[in-house]
């Protein structure tokens, strides 16, 4: 299989990640539930993962990192736990349903939401951000990159506006963490939500939130924590406040190893590799008559995604042909990003998304270009 679906999940994982998961499954007890060696080992591994995650994202301290089973869970915690009836929230058309659906849920609970419109290139107008701020505006929730086009949002610029107007800034870095440098302090991010299994190269079932000290989030889940047992409520202190129930310790051990891999490899090297192959793929496929590529490729930096259609062929048919005829794995359809597809005019057709990872090769990209050329003859 020629794997071009890294934006869905990175594959395969670095060897040290799978080794760390296997080792954890054979040696770890349950973190924070006892002080025997197995349990302490789990607690130590998880704490180390918190330290690495905090350092990776410029989060003040490891205790401010709460692990979840994916970015969606973290985003639900951030959005449902931060906004209440009467609050106004600003978001964008670039969002994934992991942001949109929690926002729509808040709308049902009495919040109002404004979406910054994307143009046909998939870009927003930054001036719209301040123009949408009202007295009731409580926060901004947005992605770092569209999972459809790969276009980046300027988090530093948005964070500066949030800070100026004393708004809560929630950032979804699912598509960029592990490739682009992300610093909460520099970007003015109050709550950063990440997934472990995409470009962070960790196992599925991992993710989390990094929270600025002083930001309060109402818990979404209540339950066992191993501490403060007789308290009727979820403990106030982070990260316990957002971590009811047993953590995915085995997965977190893998995530910790993945962060080591990224630090050793250097995300700058990863970005350079992915960007070069993305441009090669873009230049190759955009020359094929009848192929339309979506997104803004004039921008300096963008996530390594090339989404396209061929004439009016349904994206699902083209993706099937790529898989069945050529063994090329892509993602077709609407990518859980309905507003983005509406802005691009592809709500009906969808699009075929090629996404590149650090292990993608030049030969694979050339094979894709050649295969697509044959299909589109």
């Amino acid at each position: 299989m020629y794997y071009f679906d890294h934006a869905a999940t990175s594959y395969p994982k670095p060897a040290k990640v799978t080794e760390a998961v296997c080792l954890a499954m054979n040696t770890m007890g349950n973190s924070g539930r006892a002080v025997h060696e197995g349990s302490l080992k789990a607690s130590r591994i998880i704490f180390e993962a918190r330290e690495k995650t905090a350092a990776f994202f410029g989060c003040e301290k490891p205790q401010n990192v709460a692990f979840t089973c994916n970015a969606t869970e973290g985003l639900n915690m951030a959005i449902q736990g931060s906004f209440s009836s009467g609050d106004h929230i600003i978001s964008t058309d670039l969002e994934h349903n992991s942001v949109l659906r929690p926002l729509y849920e808040r709308q049902e609970k009495g919040c109002t939401v404004s979406f910054l419109q994307a143009d046909s290139m998939g870009n927003i107008c930054y001036d719209d951000l301040e123009a949408n701020i009202r007295p009731q505006t409580k926060g901004i929730v947005c992605t770092h990159a569209s999972n459809v086009t790969g276009n980046l949002l300027d988090l530093k610029r948005i964070g500066a506006v949030a800070r100026k107007h004393h708004l809560l800034f929630v950032a979804d870095v699912s598509q960029t963490a592990g490739v682009f440098p992300i610093d909460m302090k520099e970007m003015g991010i109050d709550i950063l939500c990440f997934t472990g299994h995409k470009s962070l190269l960790g196992p599925q079932g991992t993710g989390g939130l990094c929270i600025r000290t002083g930001v309060e989030i109402r818990p979404l889940k209540y339950g066992g924590t191993g501490v403060q047992t007789f308290l009727h409520t979820q403990p106030q202190e982070m990260p316990t406040r957002l971590e009811a129930g047993t953590l995915n310790g085995h997965g977190i051990a893998g995530l910790s190893a993945a962060l080591d891999y990224l630090n050793e490899t250097g995300i700058g090297n990863i970005r350079e590799h992915e960007e070069r192959l993305m441009k090669k793929l873009y230049h190759g496929v955009s020359r094929i008559p009848g192929v339309k590529v979506y997104g803004d490729f004039s921008a300096g930096e963008r996530a390594a995604i090339v989404s396209l259609n061929y004439r009016d062929v349904p994206s699902t048919e083209l993706a099937d042909e790529l898989m069945e005829g050529y063994g090329i794995a892509t993602r077709s359809g609407a990518h859980c990003a309905p507003r983005m597809h509406e802005a691009l005019g592809t709500a009906k057709q969808g699009a075929v998304r090629f996404s590149i990872g650090y292990n993608t090769t030049d030969q694979e990209v050339e094979y894709v270009i050649d295969s697509l050329r044959r299909i589109c003859q």
Binding site: F47, Q63, V227, T229, Q236, E237
Partner: protein, 78 residues
Amino acid sequence: MREKQERIVITFYTTADAMAMEKAARLHGIDGKSISAPRAVSADCGIAFSSPISEKENVMRLLSESGIEIQGAHELWL
């Protein structure tokens, strides 16, 4: 049962703080270990950090310098 010794025992609100303490103590060469929070000082379960009483000054200095949040500091015979 082992002979009891006087010890300084630190209790925490979270496992993460207990782990932060364990790691910081190791880095600073402070003698001590993670134990179950003694019922005598906390009915809340969780992990505590226990050091010989001779390390009390070092433990308290470390806590003050590191900013690790604690539930309490107790002198106990364990």
